[in-house]
């Protein structure tokens, strides 16, 4: 009964825009760094990796000429955590309150597991997308597993069904509790109750794509780098187009051992790990 009344009461009464204006805090990099340190102290173990084929064209989009992805060079990566900071600042990832922190529930899209950065693998045959009831988790033709925050109702089925558990749920109302900062105007603020995860810096890709289209040149994703790839001091994170034979990502993949999580191997991940020689 309560739910019925509550449901009717809440029905169509969302005024998200008005609330957004207040209580946004100034970016404090020190605070974010402190949270990242705390998260990195309490790492989960890295799951089992196994050799996978080089990501290729998606079956659902046979005419598409791009599939964006990423590779993390495990021979170079030393788990410094710079990528997490860059990602948090780029994507306006909120801080969490003390209670969530005590449960190790951070919102960081990139998390360290066994000193290896782990985030959404943008699977071509993503299990999260199949079970989303409202089509909030969708695949773009360019190979990104995207989230439409305005569609998300928060059933959390996607999170439960993700084998690597990299999806993050907004348990706290960061705006209300003053945990939200806005360091990048191009990325929307997520409200309480929706899922989020690595977007592969969709906004950067989109902006570059529009510019390429405006200039009338074919769009292959040249010149775009995700925030984490930009920030990595060792250059261990390589962003690129799997279908572009000229890209560094593709050429590297031909000579390196390409690994992904065993639990994901069946789902055609677009974010992989490089280790050793082929």
């Amino acid at each position: 009964m309560g739910a019925l009344i509550g449901g009717l009461f809440l029905f169509g009464c969302r005024k998200q825009g008005e609330r957004n204006a207040k209580a946004v805090r100034q970016t404090s990099v020190r605070e974010i760094k402190k949270e990242i340190q705390m998260a990195m102290k309490n790492q989960k173990p890295l799951g089992r990796l196994e050799l996978v084929p080089v990501p290729s064209r998606l079956g659902a989009y046979p005419n598409e000429s791009n599939r964006f992805g990423m590779a993390i060079d495990l021979d170079l990566c030393d788990g410094c955590g710079e990528c997490i900071l860059a990602c948090n600042l780029e994507n306006n990832i909120p801080l969490v309150n003390d209670y969530q922190a005590s449960k190790n529930n951070y919102m960081h899209w990139i998390e360290m597991r066994g000193n290896v950065p782990v985030f959404c693998s943008h699977c071509g045959d993503a299990p999260c997308e199949k079970v989303c009831p409202t089509v909030a988790a969708v695949h773009s033709p360019e190979g990104l597993s995207a989230m439409i925050y305005a569609r998300c109702v928060g059933t959390r089925f996607c999170g439960a069904n993700c084998p690597t558990k990299v999806r993050k749920f907004n348990y706290t109302d960061a705006l209300e509790e003053g945990l939200q900062y806005i360091s990048n105007k191009d990325v929307p603020i997520r409200e309480r109750g929706v899922m989020e995860k690595c977007s592969l810096c969709l906004h950067r890709l989109q902006a570059a794509r529009w510019e390429a289209k405006t200039a009338g040149i074919p769009w292959r994703g040249e010149g775009v780098k995700t925030a984490c790839a930009e920030a990595c001091p060792k250059g261990a994170i390589i962003f690129g187009n799997w279908l572009d034979k000229e890209s560094i990502l593709y050429r590297e993949a031909q000579v390196r051992g390409v690994y992904a999580f065993s639990s994901l191997a069946l789902f055609d991940p677009a974010v992989v790990y490089f280790r050793g020689k082929r």
């Binding site: 045959d125 299990p127 199949k130 069946l266």
Partner: protein, 148 residues
């Protein structure tokens, strides 16, 4: 599962079928009997089945439904009704079992399901009391089991 084990499973499922409803037992004992038969099928599949084959997850249930199907041939009252129910159970197990495996990338084989559906819809028009039709129906089910 190899064809040999498949036919062995068929035999095992046929074995208790004629004796299920011959004597009138209290409900609880009948339940215990059916459950024990199911457990024995489960143990058989656990030992003889291929653990990498995902269809093994509902294989013992399929055996059980098959066994129930065959056992309805011995009924005297409301035979067609229970025959449809038992086939419905088999179809249910097959369809929803393979639907859940479909999300893991396994193909669904529709042929046996179609044949079962045909059975449910058409057996009411047969004279199920005669020995010959009973035998033909038995052959039909064994055929579904063995071939698909």
């Amino acid at each position: 599962m190899t064809p040999l084990m498949n036919s062995l499973a068929c035999l095992l499922a046929l074995l208790p079928a004629p004796f299920l409803w011959t004597t009138r037992r209290p409900l609880a004992r009948q339940g215990v009997l059916l459950s024990l038969i199911l457990v024995s099928f489960m143990l058989f599949v656990f030992l003889a089945g291929d653990s990498n084959d995902a269809t093994m997850e509902f294989y013992p249930l399929e055996m059980w439904a098959f066994c129930l199907c065959v056992s309805t041939l011995t009924l005297s009252k409301r035979k067609v009704f229970f025959m449809s129910l038992a086939q419905g159970l088999w179809l249910w197990i097959l369809f929803f079992g393979s639907l859940s495996l479909f999300y893991r990338g396994l193909e669904i084989s529709f042929l046996s399901m179609t044949l079962l559906a045909v059975g449910i819809l058409s057996f009411r028009f047969l004279k199920t009391n005669s020995r010959e039709t009973s035998f033909a129906i038995l052959i039909y089910w064994v055929g579904i089991w063995m071939l698909f």
